[in-house]
Symmetry: C2
Subunit: 143 residues, 2 copies
DNA sequence: TATAATTGCTCTAGTCACTATAGGTTCAAG
DNA sequence: CTTGAACCTATAGTGACTAGAGCAATTATA
């Protein structure tokens, strides 16, 4: 049996995490990922803990958290005994953000649909799309 | 009666359109707004047509259209004899985009809500938020 | 009319979260 | 030992602005 720790090159880490190679280097540069050890030739070599963290980062990004929020997650993960209120706060804040974005987009969707409905498929002169775009008062909703 | 055309400084235009001064200059720079005439001292002076266009741009931006899409609107508006199908196409494309963005955000919202629901308000160590972040398999939906 | 306050000017650099490119080096397979 | 893929650094580019420095012009007040 192999007792040695599994090592990964940056390319392997990329394939395993679905994070692009330049992005991994970028995360290292901004301090999200620890600097890994290097081979004699200067190439990065990672262990599975780096993979775990990278997956966590990728997942949080996919969930829409900002880099700063992730930085905070990582910081909090280093204090397992602390209460998780801060964690809650960040998540709640993000949820509010997402909810607002959805509302905005719903309004936009309604307006786009009405734009399409109102277009008589004639020439631009008669097309209300430009009209709607030019005149905010045509809007049914605030934005 | 004042027969002279109303003139606006960039600051007045900004207040009337709710577009910030540097943004107006930026729009001019990228060719969305025509270069206005200048006073002897070199300051920009606008007429109401610029205000109309700026409002149109601001409105389209608020609706989520990209600068490129707006450029396209302006181009099409300059050819009123052309069929408005192109415009329709842009709008339709945008509508699809918005619909997809909404769907994605709805999934995200559900995920965040379940994360918060599962939080036991104890310590970070036991908090499921970090757990969920670290393990994609906790997710009910794709993202 | 003098001065002060405000607004304007250009130019450059910064934001976010990457992505792309150039030009060179190291590694692993055959 | 050679070849070619994968790696390295450094710089610049993306979109749509935003911020700052260091001046100049305009407008309001005394």
């Amino acid at each position: 049996m192999n007792e040695k720790l599994q090592e990964y090159s940056i390319g392997q880490l990329s394939r395993l995490s679905d994070v692009k190679v330049p992005t991994i280097r970028y995360y290292e540069q901004i301090g999200l990922l620890e600097e890994p050890y290097r081979t004699e030739g200067g190439q990065r070599r990672y262990f599975s803990d780096a993979l775990d963290r990278l997956r966590m980062i990728a997942h949080a990004r996919a969930l829409g958290f900002s880099i700063d929020a992730i930085r905070e997650f990582i910081r909090l993960a280093g204090h397992p005994e602390a209460p998780c209120e801060d964690l809650d706060q960040i998540t709640m804040h993000h949820l509010n953000d997402v909810t607002q974005r959805i509302q905005k987009l719903e309004r936009l969707k309604a307006e786009l649909q009405s734009m399409l409905k109102n277009c008589q498929h004639g020439t631009i002169e008669k097309c209300r799309i430009l009209e709607v775009l030019s005149d905010h008062n045509h809007c049914q909703t605030e934005h």
